[in-house]
Symmetry: C2
Subunit: 125 residues, 2 copies
């Protein structure tokens, strides 16, 4: 069996650095035309289009047509499986920093509680 296709799942799709770069450019949540991405990536248009094709196939980006432009937009929720998987290992490098982090969180808690008890009735919606 050969290596799984890049379009097999999101893990394979994001293995390529340039594709992660594209996702980073789309990270502001706005639509980007292919030409815009080509300029920012400084790589030939066909290459960008091909990478976008892979990202499209795994669903991590969506495309809409506006005139002759194709506007790509991030569909970040498709990255959640990656996040969920790797998050289970977070404790391995957070554990030592945990003490510091806990301190900070407690301090935050105090401040928040103070704020809350100060003007009790507020927050709309």
């Amino acid at each position: 069996m050969p290596r799984a296709a890049t379009t097999a799942d999101v893990f394979n799709a994001i293995a390529e650095p340039r594709r992660r770069e594209i996702l980073d450019l789309l990270g502001n949540g706005k639509e980007h035309a292919v030409g815009d991405l080509v300029l920012r990536m400084r790589m030939p248009q066909p290459a960008v289009s091909k990478h976008l094709g892979v990202l499209r196939k795994v669903g991590v980006v969506t495309v809409s047509k506006r005139g002759q432009l194709r506007l790509y937009r991030l569909n970040a929720k498709e990255l959640k499986p990656v996040h969920d998987w790797v998050k289970t290992y977070e404790r391995f490098w957070t554990h030592q920093l945990g003490r510091i982090k806990e301190r900070a969180e407690l301090k935050m808690a105090q401040q928040l509680a103070k704020q809350l008890t100060k003007h009790k009735e507020e927050e709309p919606c």
Copy 2:
């Protein structure tokens, strides 16, 4: 240029599902002999050894010899780059849940603050 090697970086290494499975098995932080992994993975020993070779090369596992056994151990901190990258997209699927989460956190803050002010002087180290 062909696709980057699976040993090029951790992103390529974890693109393969069986390799993620191996990492999951090592997720308890303990040492595991190859034979143990072979049994649990239900796949031929050479295949497991080859996957372990990839994981070794990118540093996400370490190996130590004990007699004729090779004991593999997770080196999870090498997964941090993956976590760091994907974490920047967390907001995209947390944002809607954000309101609920904020409420919960505020409540926690109140409780923590109460606990803190109750018996002020404690916690060693």
